[in-house]
């Protein structure tokens, strides 16, 4: 479970202060698929960065799987990111000089994991996204949709509990976007909690729950998905709404 209580984040320059998040509260239950929407500058990326331990926050409390993140040293945060969180980026963020196999291998290399186990995981992850045959290709030799699937394989190879996606379809055409979305849904079906930042209301509607951010806070204009949920998810969703 991911729980943020009264999280605030202010970006300061010499002249101005920007409140990216203001007393932000959110609880995400295990297995949920949440879409975060909102206008540019509303704090979506800041929220995702803090949720993914990429950035610190100024005040508040953040519990990830029961562990208080506040004040954790960089090493522990890196370890948590590596073991519990998978990232999918808008521009894929594949390493251009490494082939697909080595790209998926990147997060696994930061674990004390033998070469054999890493190979099995990489092959399995690539198979899951349908790119086994492209293991020796360079990212530039793949289409945008394929590159994003590699990024998803990279995120999944480490068996994360949380998958954070930042505009995962932002650079894809509609057909590829739909394929990626279907892939995310199937991953979510396997029990991985997904938080997805998107501008696309179509995609957002496919999530279990929508969070609408405005000026660093969850807005009252919050939308709720219209897709059918199973009983458990509906209950957890309702509990979450109460918490917000």
């Amino acid at each position: 479970m991911l729980k943020m209580s009264n999280i605030s984040k202010i970006f300061r320059t010499r002249l101005i202060e920007t409140h990216a998040l203001r007393s932000f509260n959110l609880t995400v239950n295990d297995g949920e698929f949440i879409a975060v929407t909102g206008p540019s500058g509303s704090g979506k990326t800041t929220f995702l960065n803090i949720a993914g331990l990429l950035e610190d926050f100024d005040t508040g409390q953040y519990m990830l799987d029961g562990e208080d993140i506040s004040g954790l040293p960089d090493k522990s945060r890196s370890k948590l990111r590596n073991e519990k969180i998978g990232f999918i980026f808008q521009s894929f963020n594949l390493i251009p000089d490494l082939n697909i196999f080595d790209n998926v291998d990147v997060p696994l290399r930061y674990r004390d994991m033998g070469a054999g186990e890493r190979k099995d995981r990489i092959e399995s992850a690539l198979e899951n996204v349908g790119l086994s045959s492209r293991a020796k290709h360079l990212p530039a030799e793949l289409s945008g949709g394929q590159q994003q699937r590699v990024a998803i394989a990279r995120a999944l190879a480490g068996s994360p509990r949380f998958l954070l996606a930042d505009e995962p379809t932002g650079n894809l055409d509609s057909l590829m976007a739909r394929q990626v979305m279907e892939l995310l849904e199937s991953i979510n079906d396997q029990g991985v909690t997904i938080i997805m930042v998107t501008h696309d209301p179509e995609l957002a509607r496919r999530a279990h729950r929508n969070i609408y951010l405005l000026d660093g806070q969850i807005s009252d204009l919050e939308e709720v998905t219209q897709l059918p949920l199973n009983q458990n998810q509906s209950q957890s969703q309702r509990a979450d709404h109460a918490a917000i």
Binding site: L54, S78, I95, Y110
Partner: protein
């Protein structure tokens, strides 16, 4: 360790790596050979002379007029010099060792036309030669005053006795059990008895192979010009030098006193060429090391800046700061190692060229491992700064559109 992916990435962007590896190869070749040249030069400059070089100086007196009585002047001058506090011994000297100027002669053990001859640097000095030079007489005896030969400037007369260095003795009598002491040898084809063996002494010409083959004969050549060598108590040389000049001027003003120089100064002048080469070579080495270090810093900094987003992504995927630093250090280590591998071959080829064309000795093997380790360390230190900077890239960069 990520050696395979690093190598794989490196080979896809190889221009920068090739340039730095080439620079490292050239640096190793020049540093090893340059350091060897410097070492050899300093070794030559600092080899033992056998003399008390720090406490010896010389002065030349040139009498004016035709009534100059060289023998009397020399006797009086030496008496005055020896009376100066701090002076251990003083002697006339036909030339100054290590000065680049002197008299050479041939010696042989028999007068047979086919008998081998050997060269020697000859010094005409007084019975205080041994004390004045501070050399070690290991066998035989010193000259006595009555063995002194006072001869005219144009006379070819030689005395009956001679002291020679061990090196010359060994050259004349190569048999291990034989020594020149007590034997009559032929000095410029004339017989002369060896009465003393000096352990070691350098002659005048520092580049001469037979530099240590030195002879001293008890002679004062009677001419207007007399050179004196003076040895002082340790540390008193600089104080005594002007006193000697003043005393000689006072005792006889009808002369010119010149070339008041320490033996160290004579040696420094003789070794000026070696010293210049050593300094130039060291400067080249230092500059090359700085340029190579800057090249490495430049390349690693460039790679860090070029890969900012990639570093952020790696951090987002779980890389700790240590992993980022290690990545760049390993990458740089690989480039350095490739450069050094090529550099090893280049070093040996350069040395072979120098041996063939400049009569340089063959490179001591120890220079290669020392050079390798030194450049590995240089590469590590140079890459550490940019690598640490890379480690400070925020993982949040990964979600920004850079």
């Amino acid at each position: 360790m990520e050696i395979r992916p690093i190598l794989s990435a490196m080979f896809r962007n190889k221009l920068g790596a090739i340039l730095i590896a080439t620079q490292i190869a050239v640096t190793l070749a020049i540093i090893c050979n340059g350091a060897f040249i410097v070492y050899k030069r300093y070794q030559t400059m600092n080899r033992p002379t056998g003399m008390d070089i720090e406490n010896i100086f010389a002065i030349t007196s040139e009498g004016i007029g035709s009534n100059h009585n060289a023998r009397a002047v020399a006797a009086q001058d030496l008496e005055v010099i020896r009376a100066i506090p701090g002076v251990i011994a003083a002697s006339n000297a036909s030339s100054v060792p290590l000065s680049g100027s002197g008299w050479g002669e041939t010696m042989q053990t028999t007068l047979d036309d086919n008998a081998p001859t050997t060269g020697t640097g000859v010094y005409m000095m007084s019975d205080q030669a041994i004390e004045t030079l501070g050399v070690n007489l290991i066998s035989g005896r010193n000259f006595t005053p009555d063995e002194m030969l006072y001869r005219d400037e144009n006379s070819g007369q030689i005395p009956n006795v001679i002291m020679i260095t061990q090196a010359l003795s060994d050259q004349l009598f190569p048999d291990e059990n034989e020594t020149a002491l007590g034997k009559t040898v032929f000095f410029d084809s004339r017989p002369i008895e060896v009465i003393g063996i000096i352990e070691h002494m350098h002659g005048s010409w520092v580049t001469w192979d037979a530099l240590a083959q030195v002879s001293i004969i008890p002679v004062l050549t009677l001419s207007n010009q007399t050179r004196y060598m003076i040895r002082t108590e340790p540390g008193m040389r600089d104080q005594v030098m002007p006193q000697v000049e003043e005393a000689l001027a006072n005792v006889n003003s009808q002369r010119i006193l010149r070339q008041l120089r320490s033996l160290e100064e004579f040696a420094a002048r003789s070794y000026a060429g070696d010293n210049t080469i050593a300094v130039v070579m060291m400067t080249v080495i230092v500059l090359l090391v700085i340029i190579t270090a800057m090249g490495i810093i430049g390349l690693v900094s460039f790679l860090v800046n070029q890969r900012t987003k990639q570093i952020g992504t790696r951090r987002a995927l779980g890389a700790q700061k240590f992993h980022v630093i290690r990545y760049f250090l390993v990458e740089n280590w690989l480039i350095t190692t490739i450069g050094l591998s090529v550099g090893l071959v280049l070093t040996i080829l350069l040395n072979m060229y120098l041996v063939e064309h400049f009569e340089m000795p063959r490179l001591d093997r120890i220079y290669l491992p020392i050079g390798l380790v030194a450049i590995w360390c240089l590469g590590f230190i140079a890459a550490l700064g940019p690598a640490r900077k890379a480690a400070h890239v925020s993982p949040a960069i990964a979600t920004r559109t850079v």
